[in-house]
């Protein structure tokens, strides 16, 4: 499961930040998962719990994971749309490719208004850490 690599990245980042902030314990991590990456929140939480279980610094941390809507904006006609509108029309193969590398959305999707592949992923690309809380 490739999500494991991203979950490991979250834990590594939290540990790095806690060392910088001199936290004795990490108490809470708030994570956003962008819609384009199409990661199941429960699966990601399960993987995170499995990884944090190996680190006493973080093993009791509360995990708050939210989905972030995928918002795209066309660089040509300025139209804004939600990734939801296009994902349903995609084949399983193409949506899986976007799941691995969200940028390939530029290959398999187009601006619904003008048909351009030249659009910006405004929000909801992938995994982001919003906040890391801890006690000193």
């Amino acid at each position: 499961m490739h999500e494991w690599a991203l979950a490991e990245a979250v834990v590594s980042t939290a540990i790095k930040v806690s060392k910088k902030e001199k936290f004795k314990k990490i108490t809470k991590i708030k994570i956003k998962i962008g819609e384009l990456q199409q990661i199941d929140i429960d699966t990601f939480e399960f993987l995170l719990k499995e990884i944090i279980g190996n680190h006493t610094l973080i093993d009791k941390a509360e995990l708050k994971i939210e989905k972030e809507e995928g918002v795209l904006k066309c660089n040509v006609c300025a139209h804004k749309w939600n990734f939801k509108e296009v994902i349903e029309k995609l084949s399983e193969e193409y949506s899986e490719a976007i799941h691995f590398i969200p940028e390939v959305a530029h290959i398999y999707t187009r601006c619904p208004k003008c048909g351009s592949p030249d659009f910006k992923i405004v929000e909801g690309r992938g995994v982001l850490i919003e906040t890391i809380e801890g006690i000193r």
């Binding site: 990245a9 992923i121 982001l128 850490i129």
Partner: protein
């Protein structure tokens, strides 16, 4: 906060050497050199990976005849092996479609690939660089901190002007340069050596224009017998 940036060092920690094959210009033999180098090192018994970072016109898979293989998912993605080379490219996800990516997207795709690819233990990771002195080269230097560059040029003045710019920026950023290979030589001349003298980088070799090369692309048996690949085999000691 982007968590991916904090895991890349770990993904690359078991790779002894990272060699980026660049030169700034397109069509000068970067992908051929990267592929031939990966093949040669693999034949010598080294553990080798090849990462094609050219998202707009990936070529290494055409040169090596890569077809019908796909990465395995296991705590990330594991590059499939071909001719003993662990090969990673955007082609697994883009197939043969055009990739109209702007700079930020190229950067994000590079970060994603580096964050999720589980290379395992390698003696060499060869990186096939795209043309230009933009996002890809800057991200390679930023994210693959131990990277060394192998520079390809030709005798063309147009190519040399770009190669000089690449050498200048690598020097300024204190990135190690293994040396320069002059490719597609049409006539014996010291022109390239003279032009690049000021950079004081090792001139590794000059490879004659190989007419048989085009017909061998995609066929590893034919490719291995070309003068080009044989030349790379001879100069590999200067690189490894």
């Amino acid at each position: 906060m982007d968590p991916r940036l904090n895991i890349i060092d770990k993904r690359l920690e078991n790779i002894k050497r990272l060699i980026a094959v660049g030169g700034g210009k397109g069509g000068i033999g970067k992908s051929l050199t990267a592929s031939a180098l990966a093949l040669t090192l693999s034949k010598l018994g080294y553990k080798v990976g090849l990462l094609d970072l050219d998202f707009c016109s990936p070529s290494a898979h055409i040169i090596l005849g890569v077809k019908g293989i796909y990465p395995k998912e296991e705590k990330g993605i594991i590059p499939p092996e071909i001719y003993g080379i662990r090969f990673m490219s955007i082609i697994y996800y883009a197939e043969d479609n055009p990739s109209p990516l702007r700079g930020i997207d190229i950067s994000n795709a590079i970060i994603e690939l580096l964050a999720i690819t589980q290379w395992g233990e390698l003696d060499f990771l060869i990186v096939d660089m795209p043309p230009g002195i933009g996002d890809s080269i800057l991200d390679t230097i930023r994210l693959m901190k131990r990277v060394e560059f192998l520079i390809i040029t030709t005798q063309s003045k147009v190519v040399l002007e770009t190669v000089k710019k690449v050498l200048k920026i690598l020097r300024e950023l204190k990135v190690p340069i293994i040396g320069v290979i002059e490719n597609m030589r049409l006539a014996k001349s010291s022109f390239v050596k003279e032009e690049l003298k000021e950079f004081n980088v090792p001139f590794l070799s000059a490879i004659d224009f190989d007419k048989s090369l085009e017909d061998s692309l995609g066929d590893i048996n034919k490719l291995s017998k070309t003068d080009f690949v044989r030349h790379i085999e001879k100069l590999v000691d200067k690189i490894k």
